[in-house]
Symmetry: C2
Subunit: 250 residues, 2 copies
């Protein structure tokens, strides 16, 4: 049996979600805490990698069930009493041995918050992207429609040298709404390439600000050239919001 564990974290003080030696990572802190609870090294798997500064409302980890006497509630409480203040376990459930949050995820939702206001707000620092100039949400929506569907997203990937994965990805839907002084860009997709959501947001903002026509986004896709799309939007506006799995776990 395995344990699935939903973790919320404030990305600001982490060097990304994935374990790395000698730096503070979400997985590193979780592993350390699990080791304290179970008195042995615990290998964890993670649903989606997030960069330094990126937040999560819903990141999913899994690990082997070790102590058979501990209930789901016991594990949740033990973790929350020991984890650092910028991490919080929202849910824990037992699942089958074949569960792997990375390969079983069928849908990952990211939310990006833009604070669209002339004056900055220091209370929102590290939590939203402050963009002081007017943005046309209607045009951003029109542009986003070209990105929905199954496409070669080469123009929207910040490529690693040793990343030879296919650039084709399925984006189910992009929703953009204005909520008072905020613009929320919500991307629903199966999986993503490196910095893909932030590169999409950076491009949509170019359209919203009037620099590019919405239809130009279709051309950007077709050119398959990262230099044609907008700059990468800052990490601190991005939230991994929700993940759905094949077996109905969520």
């Amino acid at each position: 049996m395995k344990v699935a564990c939903v973790v919320e974290y404030v990305g600001t003080a982490f060097h990304g979600s994935q374990y790395e030696r000698d730096v503070r990572t979400v997985q590193g802190e979780l592993n350390k805490t699990l080791e304290k609870i179970f008195k042995q090294h615990v290998k964890t798997d993670m649903a989606g990698r997030t960069d330094a500064g990126v937040h999560a409302n819903y990141q999913v980890f899994s690990f082997k069930r070790i102590n058979k006497r501990m209930t789901e509630k016991n594990i949740k409480e033990a973790l929350n009493s020991l984890l650092p203040k910028d991490m919080h376990v929202r849910d824990v459930w037992f699942t089958s041995d074949v569960f792997n949050p990375r390969s079983c995820a069928t849908k990952r939702i990211y939310q990006y918050f833009i604070f669209n206001n002339p004056e900055k707000n220091i209370f929102l620092r590290d939590k939203v992207w402050w963009f002081p100039y007017p943005l046309d949400v209607e045009k951003m929506r029109e542009a986003a429609r070209y990105l929905e569907g199954y496409h070669d997203f080469t123009s929207f990937v910040s490529k690693d040298k040793n990343d030879d994965r296919s650039p084709w990805r399925l984006v189910y839907r992009i929703r953009i709404v204005r909520i008072s002084k905020f613009i929320l860009v919500r991307v629903e997709g199966k999986s993503y390439l490196k910095r893909m959501v932030r590169n999409i947001v950076g491009t949509l903002v170019k359209v919203g600000a009037g620099t590019w026509d919405p239809a130009y986004v279709k051309e950007i896709l077709e050119m398959k050239d990262r230099r044609k799309a907008g700059a990468t939007a800052p990490a601190h506006g991005l939230y991994l919001y929700r993940i759905y799995f094949t077996d109905g776990s969520s």
Copy 2:
């Protein structure tokens, strides 16, 4: 001529607003920045003292006008380009030599945010007081009515040994509203005693949680005994929200 300067700050990383040697304070950071701009020591006065962890949307400082060629806008921009990330100047205006933000303030508004939700939210850490149990806002309002007006607030003062100021204070109004999962307590008064707003909030929460009857707050006032009122609410839920002055400056 003097310069009045409205400063917003996130209180978390400050050892309070008032200058103290060898610790990070709001006034200390402002003085250091003014010294960089004007190449000389600049003495500042402040409207209201806030404790460590308390935030401000609107704190007012004043200092002598030094460089006559700098406009209000120039000073605002110079300050904002040099101040640390958790401080922000919202406004600067020139005013008369007799202006002192402490003695000229006729009304100071504080806002206190309670996050009233069973589950904690790590993104709101250090910005609101998380109170997980149900609160009856109607009862809190009823209790607050006893505190409005001119009263001896001895029961609501965390007293310093060398503070021999009168315990009488004028509270114009206390408004309490629920906004989704938040409860906002807004206190409008002429001036306050040490931790008075936080002690009022701590007491109102005791009423809201059902521990005390609203009418008991009248008795607390009359007993003139700090030990009878509720515990001091945490600093990180409190915001100095607005200050009004005699000469119409605000």
